[in-house]
Subunit: 152 residues, 2 copies
Amino acid sequence: MPSSTPLPEPWASARQRLRERGLRWTPQRRAVVEALASSDGHVTGAELIERCRAIDPATIPSTVYRTLDVLEELGLVQHGHGADGREEFHVGPEGLHGHLHCATCGGRWEIRAGAARTIVEGLRSSDGFEVDLSHVTVVGRCADCATAAAVT
Amino acid sequence: MPSSTPLPEPWASARQRLRERGLRWTPQRRAVVEALASSDGHVTGAELIERCRAIDPATIPSTVYRTLDVLEELGLVQHGHGADGREEFHVGPEGLHGHLHCATCGGRWEIRAGAARTIVEGLRSSDGFEVDLSHVTVVGRCADCATAAAVT
DNA sequence: ATTAATGCAAACGGTTTGCACTACT
DNA sequence: AGTAGTGCAAACCGTTTGCATTAAT
């Protein structure tokens, strides 16, 4: 049963990348990779465990975390921290982005390229600080919630 | 023994502010307030417990956290989350600032008003997002570490 | 046959909670 | 006296670790 839905890059090559390093391709790792592939750009560790359990109810947390470590070494994910303080994994090459987190509705969005550039360049020029975008989470109120609050 | 070192505002009025709300001034709360007063603008919960223990070795964590909750209600501190995901408390009126965190040397700085304004206004105009500065922690490399890395 | 990876269970660190007791007012 | 606050201990949650066992190569 060679994959019902072929995974998009970079996940399709995950197996190969692991093998090249003498690492192994296991059903558990496949589950993690599938779960990551179906995520929209960021997941917390706990969320990912959930998703893996949907694929294989017997999923063990430590296996997931260990797999994430490996995938991070391969550059397939990068970890950071969300507004609530939990570990958060950013996926894929486009995973290099910050997040907006609405404290009111809990919604989350990626910081768009334009705004991201403003932040990066602003801090570079004012402090010489080189921002690591994947670790940026900005908390506040989204447009909808801000408007709603203003009306109140 | 009326205070060897009178606390600076807003801490000096903490006792009074508590009383106005029918809350009580206890030795434990005094310790927390003293510890906060001697901090430079931000501390994690765990750090604060440490500092309180320096004042009173018998300090209990839950008391510290409960006191922080109360102080937050009074507006004397606000909590957020640092780069490592731990709770972080920002103190005082000028506590309303974001942080820069250097992943290489571990150094931490406040985001200066100018850069802060850039971030706030950038996200407001691009997404209508109202940033809560006290929750912003930007991770990356400070000027020194960035230069050192470039030389390498 | 090797040895990477898993499952399990226990530990961890920071934070939170329930409850009887203490002490501020 | 009345009730806010404390101390303690146990629980919590996400994450990490040690170790014997399993399974990919």
